[in-house]
Symmetry: C2
Subunit: 107 residues, 2 copies
């Protein structure tokens, strides 16, 4: 489970890979997370459509090996959003660390 961070994960990945298609994203996340995060299709595709409808992603459909692939890439706004969301996730993680390690609160 990615706990509301799926959009952030997608935006962050796309900020590093120019363009990716849905299935590729699930595999990349699985690889980067050492098998711990397995994005479900029922979460992924609605998320991609949501991000596109918000103007953060643009799509290009290509046929590769007789199969359709929908490549997504960040728009200019998507790039901004990626930076904002990534910063928010980092802050969230730092805050969680404070709760887990209360002794380090005043470090």
């Amino acid at each position: 489970m990615y706990k509301g961070n799926l959009d952030t994960i997608i935006l962050k990945l796309l900020s590093e890979h120019n363009k990716m298609y849905g299935y590729e994203i699930t595999q990349k996340v699985k690889e980067l997370s050492q098998g711990k995060i397995n994005i479900k299709e029922g979460a992924l595709y609605p998320a991609l459509h949501r991000l596109k409808s918000k103007g953060f992603l643009e799509v290009e459909t290509l046929k590769v090996d007789n199969r359709l692939r929908k490549y997504y890439k960040l728009t200019k706004n998507g790039n901004k959003e990626s930076i904002v969301k990534t910063a928010e996730l980092e802050e969230f993680i730092n805050t969680m660390q404070l709760l887990l390690n209360p002794k380090f609160n005043f470090k």
Copy 2:
């Protein structure tokens, strides 16, 4: 937002404070998180009741300064659960770090 980690936060706090009441938990979390996490009552109280019904918490009602306080403390199973959930949250955070800092994947 605490993104599905409220139960973990409560269990972890109670593992360090013996007994706490609801309002106290919200204040303590606000303090520890430097104001960033503001637990809503609509989330807190159902969570406390849920954890109690699962046998992880036990309650003692006291009247202090003419106001009721419901003090919660971990049961034996609650203590176990606290350890499990805390470890899960730590692992989740580590996994998120991998996604945020892909260069550190092989450290």
